[in-house]
């Protein structure tokens, strides 16, 4: 089995990924403390860290969106049915028998069709839900001034918590899939160095 290295993740992308990972972990840990699930940092500290992290994350997302559009990278998330079922089959069986990976990563197509769908779901559903509900939550006191009296805090908190759970599920699965590369660690290395090892052929 030969491997070649191809450059997949640019510097900004890698920075964005790890910064986002860190922030999401911090936000989940502090968010569920605010939620009353456990006591770790203390409610007030958790709330302060959560709010600070929220602003950093929003800043990061603004940059990321800008980057995706100026570089055209947003196209990476256009869903495709091509090889979709092959990918599902691969994860259900092929991966155990060392069958060849049905998808070939290239700089222009760095995500397999399953990844495309998952990331699109994160970007279009989970992130906006968290972002919008989080901002509303943050500006609760300003609702009357913003003409948002009709909203219910319980409703906003519900959406925010539901999105947080989705994020958590995504996180668990995502971390696992990071180990399903050419080797257990090749995907993770790729996100650090930018270079992915792929089977040559």
């Amino acid at each position: 089995m030969n491997a070649t290295r191809i450059y997949i993740f640019k510097r900004f992308e890698r920075f964005w990924h790890w910064a986002q990972a860190l922030l999401i972990i911090v936000m989940a840990v502090t968010g569920f403390e605010i939620h009353g699930t456990y006591g770790l940092l203390g409610y007030e500290t958790a709330q302060e860290v959560h709010t600070t992290a929220a602003w950093l994350l929003i800043g990061l997302w603004v940059f990321a969106i800008f980057w995706h559009f100026t570089t055209g990278e947003w196209r990476q998330y256009i869903p495709t049915a091509d090889k979709l079922m092959a990918m599902v089959r691969y994860y259900l069986t092929g991966i155990f028998t060392d069958a060849p990976h049905p998808f070939r990563q290239t700089t222009l197509r760095k995500h397999n069709p399953l990844q495309r769908l998952a990331y699109l779901f994160v970007k279009l559903i989970i992130n906006p839900a968290i972002w919008i509900s989080g901002l509303l939550y943050l500006y609760y006191s300003a609702w009357p001034a913003l003409g948002l009296d009709g909203l219910s805090l319980a409703g906003v908190a519900f959406v925010h918590t539901a999105a947080a759970f989705l994020m958590l599920v995504f996180f668990v699965v995502h971390v696992y899939f990071a180990t399903t590369g050419h080797t257990w660690t090749s995907h993770i290395k790729a996100m650090i160095t930018g270079y992915e090892e792929v089977e040559s052929g």
Partner: protein, 535 residues
């Protein structure tokens, strides 16, 4: 180091000279306010005395302060009566029935030892008398003036035994000395009545007791002599002897903000009057200022009441009163802390120290259960029901001491009973321990005829907690309310993060996360197994 060395003796010297000054001027007590007065009352020939009685002192005062009594006649401190403009209810000490001692009517001579007048011993008291205003109880600076507990507002003029039968004698105060040392009101003056409400120190309010005469900073940041040294009237200000900030007309939310003379009502009897509507500094957590619309300042800043070393009464059950010993004297039982837990005169008591308040929505309105209002004995009666709810933007969450107990009611008339407890006559409860006679006389004093059927009903009375403001480091922390069973567990109508959640969403969310985790672990395990088998 050097600045330090210079500073300390400087401060010390200032302190010592202030001390010396107050010792010489103030006859040993020396409230700091005395030093700013332009009048030395000891130099006035009108005050040379001797004064045989309290009203004689007042007549002397009125020679210069010609309008003082007329001003006082208009105040609640004098009339003990006030009409609630919203409900039309006639309130004030004279009209309400509480669940401590009951009612003033028919017991005047005892209760009016806390009236700012002389001689209110029954329904015939002349409320227009100028000489009967007691100037000294509020303006004495010597600490030696004392009204006789059963003297209808007078001090004793001859050595008199008190409590009756105790062998202890109360000595008549030197009225001339006291008159020559009058000054602005102090914590001690107001405390003479307000710290001793309900029949003794700390009993009634919970946030007002003798520890507030010289409170440490931990107990009350404003009144502690170490720094701000506020007196009661620093906040309960007012012109023409009309003191602001009555419990009968509470402002649940002062949206005036900082009171600027000429622009606002000039009342300083709210936290906002000095601290404004955004009291927390910009560097503090922004959520704090965002809470002021729904949370009263005192909700966080008075974490507990009865913090000064004195327990306050939390439960008073009149229904068990009347147990006498073999000599016919009321039995008294004390607990290991020396607190009276049973008195044959009054019934059973429960006390609390360092009590966490109860929290309720409050919009400033209050509805009393007055004499004549229906009480059928079926449910716990709210003596005073405070209005407010989450839906009303003018309501805020307030802390209360909730006093509970059982008290007499007339089952036939279905009303709280007026009980004649104190008096030298045969019907007074504390003479004969005969409820029927005492209620019969009490009801007669308000023009009602007792049905002859007595019952005891459980009542509760809420007292807003506003004093004993703790240093900021002791304020209630976020998690004390933002948690499952926190201080605000009983507050309805708001979603609070940390307290509230949607149960099924949590169940679904955690189940999904757990299943996801198990799935990837299983997948990984099989992969690992297959991988090692191959190689």
């Amino acid at each position: 180091m050097r600045t330090c060395n210079v500073k300390v003796p400087g401060r010390l010297a200032a302190f010592l000279s202030a001390l010396a000054l107050s010792l010489t001027l103030g006859g040993g007590l020396g409230w700091a306010e005395n030093e700013v007065s332009t009048a030395d009352h000891s130099k006035f020939k009108e005050l040379k005395g001797p004064f045989p009685t309290g009203p004689d002192v007042t007549r002397a005062c009125l020679q210069c302060h010609t309008e003082a009594s007329k001003q006082l006649h208009k105040t609640k401190h004098w009339t003990w009566s006030v009409v609630n403009p919203d409900t039309g209810e006639r309130l004030g000490k004279r009209n309400v029935i509480n669940n401590f001692c009951g009612s003033v009517v028919s017991n005047e001579a005892r209760c009016t030892s806390c009236h700012i007048g002389y001689g209110w011993k029954d329904g015939t008291f002349d409320f227009t008398s100028e000489a009967n205003v007691d100037c000294l109880v509020c303006h004495d600076t010597t600490g030696k003036y004392r009204k006789f507990p059963a003297g209808a507002g007078h001090p004793v003029y001859q050595p008199t035994e008190w409590p009756a039968g105790s062998g202890r004698m109360m000595q008549p105060p030197d009225l001339a000395e006291i008159a020559q040392n009058v000054g602005p009101t102090s914590r001690r003056n107001c405390g003479t009545c307000h710290f001793l409400g309900g029949g003794g120190n700390a009993i009634k309010h919970g946030d007002l007791d003798l520890s507030m005469v010289e409170p440490g900073r931990y107990l009350d940041v404003h009144m502690s002599p170490g720094r701000l040294n506020f007196t009661c009237s620093t906040c309960h200000s007012g012109d023409a002897h009309a003191v602001q900030g009555s419990r009968y007309t509470t402002k649940a939310k002062d949206t005036n903000g900082i009171d600027i003379p000429g622009r606002t009502d000039g009342s300083r009897a709210s936290c906002e009057s000095c601290h404004g509507l955004e009291p927390h500094p910009a560097a503090a957590n922004a959520k704090l200022n965002e809470h002021t619309d729904r949370i009263a300042c005192v909700t966080c800043h008075v974490p507990q009441f009865a913090r000064g070393g004195y327990a306050t009464k939390m439960w008073w059950d009149w229904s068990t009163a009347g147990r006498l010993d073999e000599n016919g004297k009321p039995i008294k039982v004390h607990n290991s802390d020396g607190l009276e837990v049973y008195s044959g005169m009054k019934g059973d008591f429960r006390w609390g120290e360092h009590v966490t308040p109860e929290y309720r929505w409050f919009d400033g309105s209050v509805d009393y259960t007055l004499f004549g209002d229906t009480v059928d004995g079926g449910e716990v009666v709210s003596i005073n029901k405070y209005g407010g709810s989450a839906d009303d933007p003018d309501s805020r969450i307030w802390p209360f001491k909730v006093m509970r107990g059982k008290q007499a009611y007339d089952k036939g008339l279905q009303t709280l009973a007026v009980v004649h407890t104190f008096g030298k006559d045969d019907s007074a409860y504390w003479r004969n321990y005969d409820w029927d006679k005492a209620v019969d006389a009490g009801m007669a004093s308000v023009g009602a005829v007792y049905s002859g059927e007595l019952g005891f009903v459980e009542t509760e009375m809420a007292w807003p907690i506003t004093h004993m403001v703790a240093p900021k480091e002791d304020a209630v922390t976020c998690v004390e309310c933002h948690s499952r069973n926190g201080r605000l567990a009983g507050i309805e109508g708001v979603y609070m993060p940390g307290r509230d959640r949607t149960g099924w969403l949590d169940f679904l969310g955690w189940t999904a996360a757990l299943l996801a985790l198990l799935a990837v672990l299983a997948h990984g395990a099989v992969r690992y197994y297959a991988h090692t088998r191959r190689s």
